[in-house]
Point group: C2
Chain length 92, copies 2
């Protein structure tokens, strides 16, 4: 039986890495009058569906996907959540 999961992946810049886009957004917000805003950091939010035989397998695959493609481990951190959405009966 295959299980289908929705993965929600959050990719953020490591705290030590400068974020010029975040700084620009913060400056724009302050020019719009939101002077009570600070520490703006911009990351990526990725949703995808993954099919696996068990949750551990899905987690291991997602770790590899993040390391290989979705995040740049040198400057970014990632974390993800898995939500089981549906069971699929496979052909035996």
């Amino acid at each position: 039986m295959n299980l289908k999961y929705q993965a929600k992946i959050y990719v953020t810049l490591r705290p030590s890495v400068l974020d010029p886009a975040g700084t620009a957004v913060q400056s724009s917000l302050q020019h719009l009058g939101y002077e009570n805003v600070e520490q703006v950091r911009i990351g990526k939010y990725i949703e995808l569906m993954v099919t696996a035989s068990e949750e551990d397998e899905a987690r291991q695959q997602l770790d590899r996907m993040c390391d290989q493609l979705l995040a740049n481990p040198v400057i970014e951190n990632y974390r993800f959540e898995l939500i089981e959405v549906e069971a699929q009966t496979g052909v035996i």
Copy 2:
């Protein structure tokens, strides 16, 4: 007294809007061997700190920030979470 909140903002493309970047990432993942992946959608994840006198005020300001700058309401949805991080005593 001012309250300080961390806001976590998720900006996603509306379901009816095509996501060429998501399609490209999905294709790359499949070329890397992850053929069990589908429906890849790429959004933004923004973190910021906001100071407000109460949570409702912070929520209203964040709604306006998202509508005005952080999201494009024509093609994107947004949602956010607020986490109170610290109380600041103001000068009376």
